[in-house]
């Protein structure tokens, strides 16, 4: 009797394991794909431009410059986990950095007071997005695009459309984003936020609830997950992180320019979506997002050092967005095909 059961189980297990084994290689390349690409980028440009590419100056320039994009990409990631878009992050970043400079220059506030106001506004913006989407049922694409454009209006109204120059800003404010030794502080902020977000999304029931909502909002509701609360919370988080990114940008630039901001949306978006092709294929995740930001940043920096013109970055960002989404669609289709084969074989074993 025992003998028979174990034989049956072995048969069933091998049958079920087959699709899994054939899928394992595909899985591995999917999981570590971005990491491999990252290493390739570093090696290729390191060989092509050995002196300049790995110079401390270049590394720091890329890390400082991209920390804002990285922070924004992390902000975008949270609502995207629930399959909701936040298109306001770019405009929000712009408004936050204009306010950050303007409140110090025009209202003579200290930078911590200005930062506190910017963060409070950031929470409010996130909450507004959340309310528009969960209470009024407006599609996130429309709601965040609308609110974002309003924010763009606010920063132009506040600044009168002109650049606010921060001539007498305190050194302590500029020092927020300085490079200490070999370590650029903005990268440290990104790292801290990334660690917190990683714990939340990978190790807390709260984060799992976000992904469950992304997988099926209806199922999530029937599992006792208060979807509106979570989606609202995701937008508040996204708003807060966009505000932090704005403070960093203000400290880096030292001026507030109302036209700055919108151009950050696409790279942040592209990085988050590209990140979703790896580590946890098919779902946005922290490590994938950071790897994607680094790949985009270093490959663009490398191409620039090879003598590419400034406009190449637009080809880069647009192209990557299409390629990233194309890849993830392809990967999803492949996994579905493997899954269908797997289910067929597992079914045959029943």
């Amino acid at each position: 009797m025992d003998e028979q059961v174990s034989t049956n189980e072995r048969l069933a297990d091998t049958a079920a394991a087959r699709p899994h084994a054939s899928g394992r290689l595909a899985d591995l390349t999917a999981v570590y794909g971005l990491a491999v690409v990252f290493v390739l980028v570093m090696v290729v440009f390191g060989i092509l431009r050995p002196n300049s590419f790995f110079s401390t100056m270049n590394m720091n320039a890329v890390l400082v410059g991209q920390s804002v994009t990285a922070m924004l990409a992390l902000a975008e990631m949270v609502p995207l986990a629930t399959r909701q878009f936040d298109l306001s992050v770019g405009f929000h970043l712009g408004m936050a950095h204009v306010l950050m400079i303007g409140l110090q220059v025009q209202q003579n506030l200290s930078w911590p007071a200005a930062a506190a106001i910017v963060l409070a506004v950031a929470l409010l913006v996130g909450a507004l997005n959340g309310i528009l989407i969960t209470r009024f049922g407006i599609d996130s694409f429309i709601a965040t695009m609308g609110l974002g454009t309003l924010l763009y209006g606010v920063s132009n109204w506040y600044s009168g459309g002109a650049q606010i120059t921060g001539l007498n800003l305190p050194a302590s404010f500029a020092n927020l984003t300085e490079v200490i030794g070999y370590i650029p502080l903005p990268a440290v902020y990104v790292a801290i936020v990334a660690v917190i977000l990683w714990v939340v999304t990978e190790r807390l029931p709260v984060g799992r609830a976000l992904y469950v909502i992304g997988a099926s909002p209806r199922a999530a509701e029937l599992l006792g997950i208060r979807t509106k609360l979570y989606i609202g919370g995701a937008f508040v988080t996204s708003g807060l992180l966009s505000g932090i990114a704005g403070i960093m940008l203000a400290s880096i630039l030292g001026t507030g320019t109302p036209s700055v901001g919108p151009e950050y949306l696409l790279p942040a978006f592209a990085s988050t979506l590209l990140g979703a092709t790896s580590i946890h294929p098919g779902r946005v995740n922290v490590i994938g997002t950071l790897l994607a930001v680094l790949i985009l940043a270093f490959s663009f920096s490398g191409v620039q050092q090879l003598g590419a013109a400034f406009y190449v970055q637009y080809f880069f960002n647009g192209g990557i967005l299409i390629v990233a989404v194309g890849l993830s669609v392809y990967a999803a289709a492949r996994r579905r095909a493997l899954a269908a084969a797997g289910a067929g074989k597992a079914g045959a074993a029943d």
Binding site: A12, D13, A16, A17, P19, H20, V199, R203, L204, P205, V206, R208, A209, Y211, V212, A215, S216, R218, A219, A220, E221, L222, L223, G224, I225, R226, G282, R283, A332, R335, R336, L338, A339, G342, A343, A346, G347, A349, D350
Partner: protein, 484 residues
């Protein structure tokens, strides 16, 4: 198989699932080709597979576009009248009105969006639209499944007028009761053959059921009073919303109770109100003697120990693209966790593995994605998910729909174990065999109310079919033992 429908008659076509009703209709519609035999229309021999007949079909899913107006929905089928190549809107509206008036039915405003119509008006529109193609015969497939009683009566009225205008109606239904007083003749199919063709006036509901089942039937008229448990686990009193009720019943600890009805009878709504997924309009729900506040949501009910396994596996249970671990422990409420307490991967994996082993899920790999599993194995995972919630009352909607026989028995065994452990189970189902096999007791729902209660030796498939089919009728008095 023979079927003869006279002009200007409402002809009922009845039979159990798989008796051949759908096949017959599909042959008439020209979907399938007949292997042998002939179809005559007004005495002339026709081939439905080649030519299209002046027959119209109205399916349960009416295929109306809610966002478009009544006139546009008619025109989608009948064609848009044009003038100089452009749509002639005044004629679109006029035409919709004419078609209604031809049937002596008061037309709604043709500019009204279909979404604004009542369920009955939509069904009427479905029929009207079918007739827009100059049909002589209309085939209605379970048109009243989703209609509450007054709406069904309205629809019957329309059918009678249609008959008066000379059209013939082939009316397919599982609700035998409503055929009496509506249909003129009936054809009963069983195992692909006609076993009876008779005038409705010459037949009783019980004879119809016997013909459908192919065996004689002793109806157990369950006159049991509602059982009064000393301390019922669940006590529902006068619970109702727009789709169901008022109903009152009790479930004891360790009891498996079936809540059965034909599709659309309203039994799903009762389970969902108990789970907090639908808001009741009135009535009380008590769990272990405690009155549950009416406004409570699903999360609060789960916390109180109520669980619901949804019937729509793909849309309401599956978390596509997520692993079996995540599907088994999807939320803090189910895993017995706090929202901010870390999830330990090794512990979760062990826990998931234990469930997969216990429920014999293949493959037994907790990291596998739910999408890789067959339907039966997926369902085991979803049952396992709720077992992890350690609920006291389980509402199980169609727990084994669409899965193979092995998994079905396995899930039945699991549910029996859960009940032995002291939980109460409410099986919400239209699968009579399942209810007869699994439940201690069954409450039959017809037109939103409890029409009878079956238990013990009286709880058989035949009895369930009889009570659900006859008791569901609008005009039927026979077979029902009074509302709950």
């Amino acid at each position: 198989m023979d079927l003869a429908v006279g002009p200007g008659e409402i002809h009922a076509l009845v039979g159990e699932n798989g008796a051949g009703k759908s096949t017959l209709i599909k042959i008439l519609a020209g979907v399938h080709q007949a292997d042998a035999g002939e179809v005559r229309l007004l005495g002339e021999r026709v081939d439905p597979y080649g030519a299209s007949l002046p027959l119209s079909f109205v399916h349960q899913d009416l295929g109306l576009v809610d966002e478009l107006s009544v006139g546009e929905n008619v025109a989608l089928v009948a064609g848009f009248p044009r003038q100089a190549g452009l749509i002639d809107w005044p004629r679109v509206w006029a035409r919709a009105r004419e078609i209604y008036l031809a049937m002596a039915v008061a037309p709604p405003d043709p500019r009204l969006p279909v979404g604004a119509l009542s369920a009955a008006s939509k069904a009427v529109l479905g029929i009207v639209r079918a007739l827009a193609r100059q049909a002589r015969v209309v085939v209605l497939d379970e048109p009243t499944a989703a209609l509450p009683e007054p709406d069904a009566a309205h629809l019957f009225d329309v059918l009678r007028r249609l008959r008066a205008s000379g059209c013939s109606v082939i009316y397919v239904s599982h609700r035998l009761g409503e055929l009496f007083g509506l249909a003129d003749r009936v054809t009963v199919l069983r195992d692909g053959r006609r076993v009876r063709a008779a005038a409705m006036a010459e037949i009783t509901p019980q004879q119809l059921v016997e013909d459908m089942l192919g065996r004689s039937l002793e109806l157990h008229h369950a006159a049991h009073p509602v059982e009064n448990h000393a301390r019922p686990l669940l006590a529902v009193a006068a619970l109702e919303n727009a789709q169901a009720g008022p109903v009152s019943f009790q479930i004891g600890a360790g009891e498996i109770v079936g809540l059965v009805g034909l599709r659309g009878a309203g039994h799903e709504a009762i389970g969902r109100m108990i789970f907090g997924a639908l808001r009741p309009r009135g009535g009380e729900i008590r769990l272990d003697g405690t009155l549950l506040p009416a406004g409570e949501d699903v999360a609060a009910r789960i916390a109180r120990g109520v669980a619901l396994l949804p019937g729509d596996r793909g849309r309401e249970s599956a978390l596509g693209g997520m692993s079996l671990i995540e599907n088994l422990l999807p939320s803090a409420a189910i895993g017995g966790q706090r929202s901010w307490r870390p999830l330990l991967p090794a512990r979760e994996r062990r826990r998931a593995q234990a469930v997969l082993d216990r429920l014999d899920v293949r493959p037994r790999d907790p990291a596998a994605l739910i999408d890789w599993l067959s339907g039966g194995n997926q369902q085991k995972v979803f049952v396992g998910r709720w077992l992890e919630a350690k609920a006291r009352l389980y509402v199980m909607e169609e727990p084994t729909a669409g899965i193979d026989i092995g998994a079905k028995f396995a899930i039945h065994g699991l549910l029996a174990d859960v009940a032995r452990g002291g939980a109460g189970i409410l099986v919400v189902s239209s699968d009579f065999e399942e209810v007869a096999a699994l439940c201690d007791r069954a409450l039959v729902i017809g037109r939103a109310r409890i029409t009878s209660e079956l238990r013990g030796p009286g709880l058989t498939v035949d009895n369930l079919v009889a009570h659900a089919s006859i008791g569901a009728g609008a005009e039927a008095g026979a077979g029902a033992s009074g509302g709950g």
